[in-house]
Symmetry: C2
Subunit: 343 residues, 2 copies
């Protein structure tokens, strides 16, 4: 707690989702947020964030978190952060990964780590490294984008927060920590975060969309409306990938509602060429969340003997594209083979 | 036959393969070639072709076929062509397709149609339309590229020529026609065309490479050496696709040699970043031979109950990319949906 009795929150990742989280927490008045900014650090230090928000209002100018840093702080030199909220992309196959990034800021046993990120098994490396800390799952439904300090928030901010099932910290402590965060968050009176009693369900449910639409949009650079117009992209790729994810969930003990595939296929509006986030990453040449969105579900499926042929091929292709991004960023180098490795 | 006793040959498609075929036939002195040119028509009319050839020599200047046209001639207005050699890409899902293109030039019962093209079932629409004509399969191994009348020919010109198994014209007539073409062709003394006694084998064998390397290179825009370097692109995509093609061939009665997958994986040199032709089409935004390289083998497999999950996903993705090319060329138009078609 800071001197004014507010919770000390560290927010890592100040894109659209992170900035809106920061805004809600600060406006709620129960948290003091230290935000770690990267590309937008200078712009925000100078002018603050400009925000147009469907919930908080348009034309918000000069918003500044309580404290702005351009790197993750070393927690040994200050009071522990009660919450560390991570809203970066999760790309474990690229260093620094999430654990690398948050590690210096975590006070063992004290900080609650909130992974407001997509994907499966993202908590595993964090819990392994910090078994005494509460690690919370956050699955966000918000459409918020950020560019150079300007944020557009276009869909209601409702996230589900709850303890990961594999948590090693005491369940009661985790539950309390989740409740306190949700109440701090909703204190702004405009948003609707809630407690997630079934994190596995929530994560697999979202994966039904992400493992299919995100993956295929990234390979094809194609939006959801075009996919539906072709028909075959839905029938031969999206729905099979969804059914494989649903079967994987079922084998893992998560029963998704009947017709969830149809629901997800119809989810996006018909009057907007919506390109899912991984598709946007692909178009921009950014790293993609291949492992947590496709790789981990696939490995779970294979462990449990669930057939996932569509996801397997999609995964192989996405990994191939990720290699190309690594090459473009100087992290992978093609060389003439010293003899063909297959020879 | 023309007045000088030479065979009248129509050559459709004057890229690298077509031009080298034309050159060999003209130099052999037993054929008089009418070449249909498109983008290079003006350049070749003015200066002829310039050719650097591994077999015919470098620095060949001003080569002109006996006759140059800028459109396919109407055979009702002239002597029948004894041979119509087609070296264009084969993209049946885009009009005009091969049948559309050659139709006016074919004299029913008289012209032998030679499809010097990749893929499966390419003869079907031709035989359906011209059941009395001999249709020959040509599977070429040649590395020849053409740009504005300049041809680079870098690998020996050895093609296998033989009657398609499903031919309706008399077998003897087809055999004679194939022999005559091969001998006319080899008359130049520099090349090595031969009779193909087992067209199904030859085509499936080449498909092992094409359905895998061509497809994946088109989706990833990645060359063969990079694929081998990643390892996983070969192990998770290329080899599974090859094994599915081999299983399809087997079900169709074509026994490919043991280890053909390994042979094909190692085929391309280790010191050259070779991008297969479909990959080149993808990079250039050209239409791809999706249907004859992947769609037809897949449909054959499904008819025979062969499991081809990798090819199925690859096919769906390639078809999605083909739609994007159609859109870019103004042949497909995305529209906001009148309601979501899946709703």
């Amino acid at each position: 707690m800071d001197p004014a009795g507010k919770a000390r929150v560290l927010l890592i990742g100040s894109g659209g989702v992170g900035t809106m989280s920061c805004y809600a927490l600060e406006v709620g008045g129960k948290a003091s947020v230290t935000a770690v900014l990267r590309s937008n650090y200078d712009a925000v230090q100078k002018d603050g964030f400009s925000i147009d928000s469907i919930e908080h209002g348009n034309g918000i100018k000069g918003f500044r978190p309580s404290r702005i840093l351009n790197k993750v702080p070393d927690a040994t030199h200050e009071e522990p952060f009660e919450y560390i909220i991570v809203t970066t992309k999760n790309v474990p196959d690229v260093r620094p990964n999430v654990l690398d990034v948050i590690e210096p800021a975590v006070t063992s046993g004290a900080s609650t780590i909130v992974l407001l990120q997509n994907g499966l098994n993202i908590e595993k490396p964090i819990i392994d490294r910090f078994p005494d800390n509460v690690v919370l799952s956050g699955v966000s439904i918000i459409s918020a984008t950020e560019k150079s300090g300007n944020v557009k928030h276009e869909f209601t901010d409702s996230a589900k927060i709850g303890p990961f099932p594999s948590l090693k910290a005491p369940a009661e402590k985790a539950k309390d920590s989740a409740s306190r965060l949700v109440s701090m968050y909703n204190a702004c009176g405009k948003v609707d975060w809630s407690i997630d009693d079934n994190v596995a369900f929530t994560r697999y449910r979202k994966l039904v969309y992400n493992a299919s639409f995100n993956s295929v949009s990234a390979i094809l650079h194609m939006d959801v409306v075009r996919m539906r117009m072709t028909r075959h992209v839905i029938d031969d790729l999206i729905r099979p990938a969804m059914l494989e994810t649903i079967a994987t969930a079922k084998a893992a003990g998560v029963e998704l509602p009947d017709g969830i595939d149809h629901f997800m296929i119809c989810l996006d509006p018909a009057d907007e060429f919506f390109l899912p986030s991984m598709g946007q990453d692909a178009v921009k040449g950014n790293f993609m969340e291949v492992e947590v969105i496709v790789g981990e579900p696939l490995r779970e499926a294979e462990k449990m003997g669930v057939a996932t042929p569509t996801l397997k091929t999609i995964y192989g292709l996405l990994k191939g594209l990720q290699v190309k991004t690594k090459e473009a960023k100087g992290q992978w180098k093609p060389e003439f083979e010293e003899g063909n490795p297959y020879a």
